[in-house]
């Protein structure tokens, strides 16, 4: 599969702070990637480096197998970093026109892209009159102007109201459905879980995981159990059961993580035979959120 960007032992230091630490990963064409990490984990810095606005301290990265210089490669990329930055005194259409001149692409796309993000009616309004949600949508239209090989989005829903978040997510999903490669940095896990096929987890600039989302969440799952009275006895019984690797007491719900496939019927009949009657029993797959928290906490 064609590599779009490849990072090799990338480092960035801001004085004593090691913002990006020996980071290496590849982005392949056709996948939707999420970069996950808490605030201040180095996501934006990493994107800043590959987008030519932050200087790396050491290491290297190459666009399209090194066949293009960074600024030439960026003409084939669509990117939105944090806040939408446009000329406040220009209208939406004039701003996009300027982007076409910089990217050296035809202006005929402007109307079509404005329609995708529902700003066509407002194309002749000045950028400074836009709400944050509209500004963010204009940024997406601008990133799509060149029909990019890859769309890079850094916290695209940051600071938006629920309505705005919903609109942006829908647009991203639609774009992903067309087969465009996407790299989405976010600290919002459900956002990543909903749209991404692959994920890179970083914390304090260090890569903790990179691979498919379903591999990260793949495990034998877990049980949530609850009894009315004697939870001590339940925990004792569970710890004797083969196939349960750990037991955690989360308020009044007991969470038992599995190390091999166990059905709910098996566990229920085992407990019943030993005289425990459950008031609550659910088997679930761990969410990305739980996996993410266990990954980022393990480092502590």
């Amino acid at each position: 599969m064609e590599t779009i960007i490849s990072l090799n032992k990338l480092n960035k230091k801001f004085g004593a702070i090691h913002a990006v630490n020996n980071l290496s990963f590849d982005i392949k064409k056709g996948n939707v990637y999420g970069i996950l990490g808490p605030n201040g984990s180095g996501k934006s810095t990493t994107l800043g480096i590959i987008l030519n606005v932050v200087n790396k301290t050491s290491g290297s990265f190459s666009w399209f197998d090194g066949s293009l210089s960074t600024h030439q490669a960026l003409k084939k990329v669509g990117a939105i970093i944090e806040r939408p930055n446009f000329y406040p005194y220009m209208t939406a259409a004039q701003n996009l026109d300027l982007v076409c001149k910089i990217k050296e692409v035809d202006r005929s796309n402007i109307d079509e892209k404005l329609k995708i993000v529902n700003l066509y009616e407002r194309r002749n309004s000045k950028f400074k009159t836009f709400s944050l949600g509209m500004k963010q949508r204009l940024a997406i239209a601008s990133a799509l102007l060149n029909n990019p090989e890859i769309l890079i989005l850094d916290e695209p829903t940051n600071g938006l109201d629920p309505q705005g978040i919903h609109e942006i997510r829908k647009i991203i999903k639609d774009i992903a459905a067309t087969g465009t490669t996407i790299l989405l940095a976010s600290h919002l896990l459900d956002e990543v879980e909903k749209v991404c096929t692959h994920v890179v987890v970083i914390r304090e600039g260090v890569k903790l995981y990179s691979g498919r989302v379903d591999e990260l969440t793949a495990s034998h799952g877990l049980f949530e159990l609850k009894v009315e009275d004697d939870s001590e006895k339940l925990i004792k019984l569970l710890s004797k059961f083969e196939g349960i690797s750990s037991i955690k007491n989360d308020e009044d719900i007991i969470i038992a993580t599995l190390s091999k496939p166990v059905t709910a019927t098996e566990i229920n009949s085992y407990l019943f035979q030993n005289g425990v009657l459950l008031s609550h029993l659910v088997k679930r797959k761990p969410s990305l959120e739980q996996q993410f928290l266990s990954l980022t906490n393990n480092k502590n």
Partner: protein
């Protein structure tokens, strides 16, 4: 090059403040011609500036380029703000992400500076030519073509001055502070001159050193034309002053101005390259 110029013009033409300043600047440049209309007619005292010889070829080249260069402040505001606004709107970051290289970014600004300076020079040339044909006592081709070096000097003076403005714009990132920084730098040049002349070397050597500083070097390109006027000379002679000095454009001054221009553009690029945005 045309692409970069086109990008910068796109940014300027929709900006109302820039448009107004540019319009004022070129209107004022044209209105140099209005000096011709200055006429006092108070009883016995008759004074018509245009007939004092200021529009005589070749003196007109010197006079008009000098007066026109006083107006450069209007364009400086446009140039400083076109750089500083890219920082305050964070559009510089967006431009780079969209695929403009840092070098192209600086070049697009520099080409614009060259364009403005070239148009200004053309303007001054045309206005002077027309005024000269109307008011000059001599219109022989050989006399018209004399002292034309004031035009390239004027062009370089503008390019150097605006390049300084670009550099300050990128250095301090705020238009108002950048203009302030230039005023402070002007004072610093005087302080260097004063301290050197007062404590270290003779006043003459201090002046020679000051000639190498950017603002002084740029102002040396076209020296004040007032004391070159015959009328002024005559008056000066009567009170016993000798005002004969060399008014021509000095090659050394040209070289210093070009060197500063290159340095300012290079420093702007180096600064932008080094900075994280």
């Amino acid at each position: 090059m045309l692409r970069l110029l086109n990008i910068e013009i796109h940014k300027l033409k929709y900006n109302r403040a820039s448009r107004i300043l540019i319009l004022i600047y070129f209107t004022l440049l044209t209105s140099i011609a209005l000096i011709a209309a200055i006429k006092f007619d108070i009883g016995p005292i008759k004074f018509h500036l245009a007939e004092m010889g200021i529009f005589n070829f070749p003196y007109i080249w010197h006079f008009n380029t000098y007066v026109a260069s006083l107006l450069k402040l209007f364009l400086l505001l446009v140039i400083v703000s076109m750089m500083a606004n890219e920082y305050s709107n964070k559009t510089l970051k967006q431009n780079l992400i969209d695929g403009l290289s840092k070098k192209e970014f600086i070049l697009s600004k520099f080409y614009t500076v060259i364009l403005f300076s070239a148009i200004s020079t053309l303007f001054v040339f045309s206005v002077s030519l027309i005024l000269g044909f109307i008011y000059s006592d001599y219109t022989e081709l050989s006399i018209i073509l004399m002292d034309l070096e004031y035009l390239p000097a004027f062009f370089l003076k503008l390019v150097g001055f605006f390049s300084f403005g670009l550099y300050l714009g990128i250095l301090v990132k705020r238009s108002a502070f950048a203009v302030g920084a230039m005023i402070i730098w002007y004072i610093i040049e005087w302080l260097i001159f004063a301290i050197l002349g007062w404590k270290a070397v003779s006043w003459e050597t201090a002046q020679k050193i000051k000639n190498f500083l950017p603002l002084e070097a740029l102002s040396n390109l076209i020296k004040e034309p007032g004391s070159r006027l015959d009328a002024v000379k005559t008056v000066a002679k009567q009170v016993g002053e000798d005002l004969s000095k060399d008014f021509s454009v000095q090659p050394l001054d040209l070289i210093i101005a070009i060197a500063w221009t290159f340095l300012f553009i290079y420093l702007s690029y180096a600064l932008l390259k080094k900075r994280d945005l």
